[in-house]
Structures are given as C-alpha cells and as structure tokens.
C-alpha cells in the first residue's frame, strides 16, 4: 500500500479544533478520506467496525490516552498491524520512547506543517511496504 490518497485515516484528539487542524493539513497533502474520534474508546469502536488504514492519535486524552490506545491496537489480533502515528508535544522524551517500545510506527511533534505530516505518513507506508 503505497501513498494511496484514498486511504482512510482516523484522527483522534479530544480537542475538536485540533482534529480540524490535522484534517486540514491532511487535505493539503491530498488525503480526503478522514474519520474522527475524540478519545481512545470511540476510536476503537470505529477501528473495529471499519477498515482504517492509518491512525493519527494525540497522546494526552481523557478516558484512554494515546499510549493505551496504541497498546490495545497492537494487542488486538486484527488491528495489530495498523500504522499508528503518535502526535506529541515537544517530543517529551519519556513519552516518545514509551510509545516506540509499544510499537508505534512513527511520531510527529506539534506544531507541524502539512509537508512534515506528509513526509511522516509516506515514511510509515514505505516501511510497511518493505516489511511485506
């Protein structure tokens, strides 16, 4: 699955304005098929009922934070291979390393431009492709 602009991306953040911002940036990169969720729990519902090709999730959320969501996704038989991009603030060291150990596909630091977002997405997809 190379950079397919039609792939379905799930954006998760409890701040709806942030979701809009990311959605806009994705649009600039040509990705228009975007779903939204405001926390890990509703994200899981969507993940289990639809085919999501990539998850872009914030770290700090109530109920179920990004890390817990990542762990749940990686532990789930069907969802485990889903590309997961974690959005963090200022690359707080502990968080990023934790996420990496739990199998995150990549991370991106707020605030970012559409170009950087695009790069990260392409990188993830390339790796997924290589692993076969």
């Amino acid at each position: 699955m190379s950079s397919d602009k039609h792939m379905k991306i799930l954006v998760i953040d409890d701040f709806s304005t942030m979701r809009k911002v990311i959605k806009n940036l994705l649009k600039q990169g040509g990705y228009n098929n975007v779903a939204e969720a405001d926390d890990g729990i509703s994200a899981l519902k969507i993940l289990r009922s639809e085919t999501i090709d990539m998850i872009i999730s914030d770290w700090n959320m109530p109920n179920m934070n990004g890390l817990d969501l990542l762990k749940t996704v990686r532990a789930d038989r069907e969802l485990s291979g889903t590309p997961f991009l974690m959005v963090t603030a200022e690359g707080l060291r502990d968080n990023v390393v934790l996420a990496v150990k739990e199998g995150v596909s990549n991370y991106i630091v707020k605030p970012f431009t559409a170009e950087v977002l695009n790069e990260k997405i392409e990188e993830i997809l390339k790796r997924t492709e290589n692993k076969g």
Binding site: F15, T17, M18, K27, N60, E90, V100, R127
Partner: protein, 732 residues
C-alpha cells in the same frame, strides 16, 4: 540469565537491526531493539556480566537519542553497530584483555556522542528535539489566510473559551485535594490542548502563556512545586489572560480589531518566578546529599565530587556513587533515605475520607447522648460512691472535649467559599459592565464542611443582588461623587453558636419607595401603614417583593429574596438586611456552626420539657410582682432592666398543660432572637446540656416554634425551641 539465552537475545536484537535507510532510523525496529535491551539488562545481574550491562545501557541511550533525533544519525548508527560487535565479543567468552579495551572504547565513543547532545540526566523538561525536520512551526503570516483557517480559528475561540471556563472549577477542586493526580491532569490538559492548537495557528502569545501554565502544573505533578494559594492565583490569572486573548480573537475575526489583545505578562511572569524561588527556599524535602552533609557523614567536597561522578555517563544515583566510592556506608545512606522519606510524609495534614469523618461525628453524637443518659440514671444519681461519681464527671468532661474536637475536624475556613464568591462577583460585574472590588475579612472563620455547599446558593443570590441592584454603573457612581469602583465586602465571624456572614455593598441602597409600592400592590400591607426604615427593608423578603427579575446567565432566572430567606431558614439560619439610601446595603446571614449538637437550657413546662438554645438565652430570672403588667392590646409584659418585654406562656402556645403559676412564683427565661427579646415563663429549669439535634422528620420539619428534637439524659424527648419562629407565632 544463562550465557546461551543471552546469546540468543543478542542475535534476535541484531536481526531486528534494520535501521538506516536514507539516514533516518526505523522507529518500529528501534522499538523492538529497545525491548530486547530491556530483556538483556533485566536478565543480567551478576558481577561477571557487569560489562554487558554497561554496554547494553549505552546502547539503549544511543537508540533513544537516535529516535529523538538528537544525535547525528550516521554516527549514531555506527556507534550502535560497534556496540553490538563488542557485546557479541563479550558473550563469545573474551572476558578480559582485548575485550575490556573494546568495551571502554565503545563506552567513550557513546559518551562523546551523547554528551555533545542535549541532556545527560534522566529527565529533561526542555524539548530534546532540535532537528529541522521535526518541529517547524507554521510560517508566520506568510501563508495566505485561507478559508479553512478562519473556520479553525472560530472553533478555537469557542472551544478554547469552554476549556478555560472548566479550568476555574477544576482549580477549586485542586485546592481541595492537591495530591489528586487526576485533578492535576484535568487542569493540565486544557492548557496543553490550547497550547497545541495555538502553535499551529501561530498564536505565539497564547501558546507561550499556555505553556507556562502547563509547565507550572507539570511541576506540581512531579513534586517540584506545591499547591499554594499564590499558585492557584497565578493559574487563575493566567486563565483570565488567556480568556482575554482568545476572546479578542473573536473580535479580530469579526473585523472589530486588527490584532488579538496582548495583556501585560510581566507581572504574571514575576509572580511565577517568585513562586519558584519560594518553593526552592522552603524546600520541604531535602536532597539526599544535603541530609548526608548535614549529618556529618560526608563533606561538601565529597558531595560535589560524587555529584559530578554520578552525572557522568552512564548516570547513577548519588547514593550508589557514594557507596561505590566508599564515601558512605550503606547503613548511613539508607538512614538518610529514610529521613528523606519521613520529610515527605510529614506534610502536617492528612487526608481523610469524608464519610469516615461524618460517621465518627455521628458516633460521638451518640456518645454524648448515652453519657447523658447514664448521668441521669436514678441509680447513678442516688449513688454516693465517690469514685463512681468522679469517674463519671471525668467521662462527661472527656465526652464534651471529644465532641468539640470531632465537630472541629469537620470545620473548614470559609475562605474557599468567599473566594468562589469573589470570582462570581468579578464575572457578574464584568457582564453587567460595572467595576467592582471585593474585600474580605474573617476568611479564617470556620464552618462545618457539610454546610459550605448548602450555604453557597443563598450567598450567591445575595451577591447577585449586590452586584445587579446595589452597585451602580461607573458613570452613575462618578456623578454621585463616589469612586468609580464599587466595593463589596464579605466578612464572617462567630457569634454564639453561629457563624455570621455579612455581604455589604457601597451601592445605591434599597429602593424603599419601590418596595413599599410593591408591598401595597401585592396586598401585604395597607397603604397608610407606618413602618420604620428597617421594617421596610425587611419587606424585601416577602414573596414577589424583591425586584430581581432580570434573567442572568449564571442560574437562569433571577431569584427572589423570599426564596433565599427560605433556603437560609431551611438550614436553621437567619437572614436580615439593612440599607442606607445612596450609601449601600448589607445582607447579614447567620448559620449554625454545626447542625449536629447544640448547647441548650432544659426547661420544664407542665409535663413537657423544652430546650432553649443557650446562645439565645439572655437571662434567667425570678421576676418581682411589681414588674408584671398587663397592657391593653399587648397582653402580659414584664419589665426587665428598664425594657418592657412581652411574656410568653409556652403551654398556651403549644396547647399543653402548665403548672399555671404566677410569673413571680416561677422562673422566666429572657430569650433573645435577632433584635427583640421576650420572656418565656417556665415551671422549672432542669439544667444545661449539650444535646444532639435530631430532626423531627419530613412531616414535622416546618412546625413553627420548634427546630428539632433531642433525647435528654432522662431518656425522654425534648423539643428544641426556635426563638425566632416562636416569637413570630405569637406576633400574629
């Protein structure tokens, strides 16, 4: 971990080693690698594998730095490769000789790479990210302002303001439970979210301020800062500033302004700096090194040297370093550590489950009753056993003390309530375009914790009255020669067994003419009736009288003062108002300190016993015949200290039997109830007791004249008189 296992692990690690491809580390592989390293370090604990552990540690740090992009990718990769080779070599068996040299070489290389980057200690609060690829902010102002952006800005304003208004409530929660990490997180998140979006929208001022707030809270979370009143104030001030800035964005969008507002941050920054300094000075918990030096275990120089070594690569703890260097024995270090732990716990306060506290207070109440009953037991009463009586007297004293202490446990200063009110006043004033300052006195006055919530609503309504109807608009005030800023004073004090709360404003005072008009309109009085100014003021509490009709957004409809009076009286309290034309009004609310126990005078009338709250008893006397009169239209009166007071006969009021004696043959209790006193004729005074107030239940709750019941020492039930409503009963 056996050699073989270790070898396998390393092989796995190597096969997952697919890193560099066009100069960027593969994150998932890095993750797996790290997990392998963890496995290796966990399994390697014996001395012989110490070098393995060191190398593994170094590898871990190198990979982390590569992930965080804070060291050169190419060099880092090569270093990692080197490390893996060394590790393999060690497992291969060469424990000494070339093996060691290779290890040291690798360690040096790793140290050099890492040392030249950002931090070397375990935690860094600064951004470790420095690479350009990671965090380029949006080009300020050079991007065209697209349609989409406007929608996002509008959302940001709406949501941002919502988040900020949540913060206020959360801050109050934080004050109540400063150690609750859920609370701290709940506060942290809105600032974090606002900062996040502000960064994208290039709103630097907002982003920076939100970051400062976030930073403060993060430090609270990691125990580098404690929750104090100044800290709370700073958070609230920061929130206000953010509200202003974000709110002004709306104006920018609507074309009213060209730039968002930039409030002066210097003062806030200064206050933040002060708080940090103060915390560091106070430093409730000493550092381990300080304790050891203080105890004379090591010298300052040794400490300095050890700290340096400890920070060298790979980072070690101070205690370990001292032990390794032989500067301190393990006993000395662990003693110091225990001391430190003790300091952490010695906070001076302890958190207690509210339910447990309430249960305890209830039980103490039962204890008081039971102890009184024992005292009244005829066997005990008739006993001449000195020891028994002494013991009982002591028991009574202890019970009394216990009761005082336990109700005291539930007492909290009214400060928090006042602070809530102060914020409310600020918001109300701003909404109605008025300028109001708030002054407080007696914030340390204590009130039962359970009561604080209950009294808040009536107080809010009084406050609203003061702001909406009391304080005039700035223009009006100036034209009247008053300072532009109105003043609302909140004060509290203890009086008798009650807490008295006053809300005074320096506004226009009550509009007596209007009140009279409405009273006549509503049929509460005839047109020509003569009333004193005070009485007119009090008409405010009649239904439909208060002119609060405006719909305000805090609770919906404005609420009449009659509802407020009811609410206050439901809590066994009283409310009063006094006003001075053009100068202001003062609302006075009185609430019992605690709902549980009351000190009362037990009196007998006929076969019934009643309890008169000691706080309301002015005097107990046996009147002289010549002081007794009957006055046409007023009934029986007694002359007491020059005053002519009405005489009440309880058996007549309550329809029971009495001994029917002349007042000069019986006892009279002069009872006081807000502003007036009356004489209550009783057959006998049984004594003074602290009784546990028992509610009369739903059906009898509103009986006038009585506020509850109590189980007396004799085991019988006595009714607790409520002087105010009792008097009202007779006045009708």
């Amino acid at each position: 971990m056996k050699q073989e296992e270790l070898s396998d692990r390393i092989d796995e690690m190597v096969s997952d080693f697919l890193f560099l491809d066009e100069g960027v580390i593969d994150i998932p592989s890095a993750g797996k690698f790290l997990n392998h390293i963890d496995g290796i370090t966990a399994g390697v604990t014996t001395d012989t594998t110490e070098p393995v552990r060191r190398v593994a540690c170094a590898l871990r740090i190198l990979i982390e730095r590569l992930i965080l992009d804070s060291i050169d990718q190419r060099e880092g990769y090569l270093a990692v490769e080197g490390g893996i080779t060394v590790m393999r070599g060690m497992i291969g068996g060469a424990a000494g000789g070339t093996g060691d040299a290779a290890v040291e070489e690798f360690m040096d290389r790793a140290a050099r790479l890492v040392g030249s980057a950002a931090d070397s200690d375990g935690r860094s609060e600064e951004a470790v990210m420095s690479s350009e690829g990671g965090s380029a902010a949006i080009d300020g102002g050079k991007r065209p302002f697209e349609r989409d952006d406007e929608a996002v800005l509008r959302d940001f304003v709406t949501e941002g303001l919502e988040y900020l208004s949540d913060i206020e409530t959360q801050v109050l929660n934080l004050e109540q439970c400063p150690e609750d990490s859920g609370c701290i997180n709940a506060l942290f998140r809105p600032f974090h979210s606002i900062k996040g979006v502000a960064g994208f929208l290039n709103l630097d001022d907002i982003s920076n301020l939100a970051h400062d707030m976030e930073d403060l809270l993060d430090r609270v979370r990691t125990d580098h800062l404690s929750v104090t009143a100044p800290l709370i104030d700073i958070i609230l001030s920061g929130t206000d500033a953010l509200k202003e800035m974000i709110g002004s964005l709306q104006d920018v969008l609507d074309g009213i302004r060209s730039h968002p507002s930039r409030p002066d941050m210097a003062l806030l920054r200064h206050r933040i700096a002060q708080i940090e300094d103060r915390f560091e000075e106070e430093g409730t918990v000493e550092k381990l090194g300080t304790i050891l030096v203080g105890d004379g275990v090591i010298t300052e120089e040794t400490l300095a040297g050890a700290l340096e070594t400890a920070q060298e690569y790979p980072p070690k703890r101070l205690g370990e370093t001292l032990l390794n260097g032989g500067a301190a024995t393990s006993r000395q270090v662990s003693q110091a550590l225990r001391k430190q732990a003790g300091q952490v716990m010695d906070a001076g306060t302890i958190r207690v489950d509210v339910k447990k506290l309430d249960d305890m207070v209830d039980m103490v109440g039962e204890l008081v009753i039971t102890q009184a009953m024992i005292k009244e037991n005829p066997v005990i009463k008739g006993s001449e056993d000195k020891k028994l009586l002494e013991g009982l007297a002591r028991l009574a004293g202890i019970t009394s003390e216990l009761q005082r202490t336990s109700t005291g446990l539930r007492m909290v200063p009214i400060r928090k309530t006042f602070q809530r009110m102060a914020r409310l006043i600020r918001d109300l004033a701003r909404e109605s375009g008025k300028v109001v300052a708030v002054e407080m006195a007696g914030e340390d006055t204590e009130i039962d914790r359970n009561m604080t919530e209950e009294i808040y609503t009536p107080l809010v309504h009084m406050v609203r009255n003061a702001v909406d109807h009391g304080i005039e608009e700035p223009r009006t005030r100036i034209s009247m020669g008053k300072p532009e800023r109105g003043l609302i004073s909140l004060s509290a004090c203890h009086r008798g067994g009650n807490i008295v709360i006053e809300i005074a404003d320096d506004g226009r005072g009550l509009d007596r003419k209007r009140i009279l008009e409405r009273a006549v309109e509503k049929g509460f009085m005839a047109e020509r009736e003569e009333l004193s100014e005070r009485d007119i003021d009090r008409l405010l509490f009649l239904p439909g009288l208060s002119t609060a009709e405006r719909v305000t957004d805090i609770s919906g409809r404005g609420v009449g003062m009659d509802i407020v009076k009811e609410a206050v009286e439901q809590l066994q309290g009283k409310i009063d108002v006094s006003s001075s034309d053009g100068k202001g009004s003062t609302f006075t609310a009185l609430f019992p300190l605690t709902m549980a126990i009351i000190d009362g005078m037990i009196v007998r009338v006929g076969s019934e016993q009643y309890i008169i709250p000691t706080a309301s008893v002015r005097q107990l006397m046996r009147p002289r015949r010549e002081h007794y009169h009957t006055v046409a239209g007023r009934g029986e009166v007694l002359e007491v200290m020059g005053e002519s007071l009405p005489l009440l006969r309880l058996h007549k009021i309550f329809g029971t039997d009495g001994d029917h004696r002349d007042p000069w043959d019986s006892l009279v209790v002069v009872v006081e109830a807000e502003e007036r006193s009356k004489c209550v004729c009783v057959d006998e005074v049984m004594g003074k007791e602290e009784v546990v107030i028992k509610s009369l239940g739903e059906k009898l709750k509103n009986v006038q004249g009585v506020s509850g019941g109590a189980i007396l020492g004799s085991g019988s039930v006595g009714l607790i008189l409520d002087p105010d409503s009792l008097f009202a009963l007779c006045e009708r």
